[in-house]
Symmetry: C2
Subunit: 340 residues, 2 copies
């Protein structure tokens, strides 16, 4: 197995990527290709510690910077590290691609170079949410702002496979994010999707709200990319508001400071829950290849976590399972076979 890592993706590139590549190549016993500008990467890699025998550099002269417009500049810079890395998947040199760069840029390059899995209408950006007792798969979290009911059914199928393969849940419960649990609740998209999901052979539990999701009562949450993105970002923002307020209050007197010091082990659970490194990387499900997007703010530890997700996905043949599931399940549904 060979994993392909975009060395120019994270905000602090390429140091976190180089460290993670070396550490993971040792941990997995597999080759890791670092794709990026050699002039920058060579001296940094040479200076890094550890056994580098399984790390290989592939040169990509162009760099997509944070301030670049993802689509426009990806076109202007065809030899950017994302494009070069994704081409290594296309040629079969690598089995999964990981980048902590701009999500729009990864999606654009992946669609152009690898295309969609046969039968998939829209790939979905997928993430794991920390919930009571574990994690929950949520998709789409931003790739498709406007969706049709049949897109959501495909998200449900792909999310279900992802939960099976990565969370080891044999028959994942699938919920549709709505403004009320009862059938009949929701906007028009949800109402139209509800009955399609009832008849698609998944373990569909109906509409879910925030309390079911964070209470750990569903394994997969299906939503359009607009709502999913707001769901994700508002959850992160609330968590930040609470922990920031708590920190401030805990530092406000000697007594609370002492209390905070004694209670420190308890805060670790919260910190762990909110740590992006815990969820690794978000796959672009529906692309004809294993493509993962890590947090831009990734440090080496978060990059290692992202590489572990990719490594596991190759091991369990996530792509093959997705391909089969889409062919099997969606052949039953009228409008979903067309690669439109």
């Amino acid at each position: 197995m060979t994993l392909v890592l975009d060395a120019m993706g994270s905000d602090q590139y390429p140091d976190p990527e180089i460290r993670a590549a070396i550490d993971c190549s040792i941990e997995f016993g597999e080759e890791i290709i670092l794709v990026g500008n050699e002039d920058i990467l060579k001296p940094k890699l040479a200076a890094a510690s550890g056994d580098k025998s399984r790390v290989r550099l592939v040169h990509a002269p162009d760099i997509l910077e944070m301030w670049d417009k993802p689509v426009e500049n990806a076109k202007k810079k065809p030899l950017n590290s994302m494009a070069v890395g994704l081409n290594l998947l296309k040629t079969g040199e690598g089995q999964a691609f990981i980048s902590a760069g701009n999500t729009g840029g990864v999606m654009f390059n992946a669609l152009r170079i690898l295309g969609r899995l046969p039968g998939v209408q829209r790939p979905a950006l997928t993430t794991l949410f920390p919930v009571k007792g574990g994690h929950c798969v949520v998709l789409d979290i931003g790739a498709n702002a406007d969706c049709r009911p049949d897109f959501l059914v495909q998200f449900a199928v792909m999310g279900s496979i992802y939960a099976q393969k990565t969370l080891q849940i044999p028959n994942p419960k699938v919920g549709l994010l709505s403004n009320g649990e009862e059938s009949g609740k929701g906007n028009q998209l949800i109402k139209d999707t509800y009955h399609l999901l009832e008849n698609c052979g998944l373990n569909y539990i109906g509409n879910v709200e925030g309390k079911e999701v964070f209470g750990g009562q569903t394994d997969v949450v299906v939503t359009d990319g607009f709502t999913g993105n707001i769901f994700l970002k508002s959850s992160e923002a609330v968590a930040k508001l609470i922990t920031d307020t708590l920190k401030e209050e805990l530092m406000s007197s000697f007594q609370t400071k002492l209390g905070a010091a004694l209670a420190k082990p308890a805060f670790k659970a919260i910190k762990k829950m909110m740590d992006p490194a815990e969820t690794g990387a978000a796959p672009l499900l529906g692309i004809d290849g294993l493509v993962f997007v890590g947090h831009g703010r990734s440090d080496a530890r978060a990059m290692v976590s992202a590489l572990r997700v990719a490594h596991q996905s190759v091991q369990v043949d996530l792509l093959g399972s997705l391909r089969t599931a889409i062919q099997e399940r969606l052949a039953q549904l009228p409008a979903s076979g067309a690669n439109s």
Copy 2:
């Protein structure tokens, strides 16, 4: 001034309502009408302590129960406490109506009995979110699952007046909830609304995400009722997950228990932030009358808080301001004058 309180609304009705009515009639020095079934209310009111000279009972034989379907049963029970109470606003006997009952039931009865303010297309359920440094007005949080751009413009106008009148912000910043700050981000509804809001004379700051909202960077958040409801409920659910996890961890050892005891004052700020009693009640902005919905789980303290919001709204003539603003601002916009 006379405030009209639905005595049969909260989960524990009518005890919280009776207590709050007595206490608020003393605090405000104003009459409060309790509307509900006299057979239940009379003995309870007689047994309650305090000066009851400003509390009056108005009989409503029918009770809309929690398990009743709001619209269907409101039709079958025309003399329910909501309907009787709202009629007191229509006849001018009362200036504001407050219920902790089912939101759908209040909305249905209010639309039927009071109707919409002239020019308003859809009333919006409006709430205050706790954010860094204070509160923020969010609407719609559930009345209209599917919206048109001109509905959202009306929500912006009404939310802006509400922030002026109740949060005393002279020129409230208005943000449009979206999946990205840049103009051009969003689903079709957001894209179509963005430019209308730029030209409606409000202090419009563009698209906002969770971090701007909870960071306190906007005073009014405009959204459709589907997205707004998910935004509200997921925020509440995340807050609950974090505080539940923290509580569990704090109780896990002697040391953390001791720490928690010492740090107790710091947790008060979080508790206060998440307390429904702090935000009082959600107005149905756009109804031709001052109508407020309190939390179903309201205790007497939360009901007092709800009555205070209603009392303040009458004092500052919120309804008159809304009527004027809608006439003035929306006369400038093409499709919004029609009461369709």
